[in-house]
């Protein structure tokens, strides 16, 4: 089971937690990426984030997420994968992304989560614009 969503409203883990249920899975793992207040730059300077805004090439992002979910299912013998990414404004302390997966044994679920996040952050056409405490804004293009 694969569930991919781009949403404009807050992501609540409780709304999604039952989506990966499966009687033959013994391991459920979740990751939520949350808007953080402080970012330390490469130069060691601490920047204070006020809010984040996410933009996507939506149809391509959905396709890329579907592809990487399918690859994760095969590679890690997962029973289910759910990936939810929020777009638009994401206030401090709220989740921008939620990834969940279930597998028979915990090693697979533990390995799948970082793999999915690494791929998502490398290839899925979604961009973050930070608004800092001084109201300056910056698109993040790592």
């Amino acid at each position: 089971m694969i569930l991919i969503r781009l949403v404009q409203s807050p992501i609540e883990l409780s709304d999604w937690s039952s989506t990966i249920d499966d009687p033959d899975t013994g391991a459920h793992a979740w990751f939520a990426g949350v808007t953080r207040r402080k970012t330390t730059t490469e130069g060691g300077r601490v920047r204070i984030t006020k809010t984040l805004h996410y933009q996507a090439h939506e149809s391509m992002a959905l396709g890329q997420l579907q592809q990487l979910a399918e690859q994760a299912m095969r590679t890690y013998s997962l029973a289910a994968v759910v990936i939810v990414h929020r777009l638009g404004e994401v206030p401090l302390g709220q989740a921008s992304v939620l990834v969940g997966c279930s597998s028979a044994h915990r090693r697979d679920a533990f390995s799948a989560l970082p793999w999915i996040m690494d791929r998502l952050k490398a290839d899925v056409p979604i961009w973050k614009r930070e608004t800092f405490a001084d109201d300056s804004t910056e698109w993040i293009h790592p």
């Binding site: 090439h57 990414h85 899925v124 961009w127 614009r129 293009h141 790592p142």
Partner: protein, 80 residues
């Protein structure tokens, strides 16, 4: 050909889509260079961007055919 723009490139260009003209056969790299020439303020960012054809990344030497394929310029992503 029309190319969709996003994030920092979109802001620098001031538009969501840009029209570029290159002599066929047009490779992805040629199209990216053409966008950079039209949006010099973002030339560096465009130089590290990838081209996607119908939602799939293509290599620089990929030849883009005229037609109704969707072209998008994908600067380095920062989702998650």
């Amino acid at each position: 050909m029309q190319i969709l723009l996003f994030a920092g490139v979109r802001d620098a260009a001031g538009c969501d889509v840009i029209e570029v003209t290159v002599d066929p056969p047009a490779t992805a790299a040629m199209l990216i260079d053409a966008v950079a020439a039209q949006v010099p303020a973002a030339a560096q960012l465009i130089g590290v961007s990838r081209l996607a054809v119908d939602g799939q990344y293509v290599a620089g030497d990929h030849v883009v055919e005229r037609g109704d394929a969707e072209l998008a310029l994908i600067p380095p992503v920062s989702g998650g």
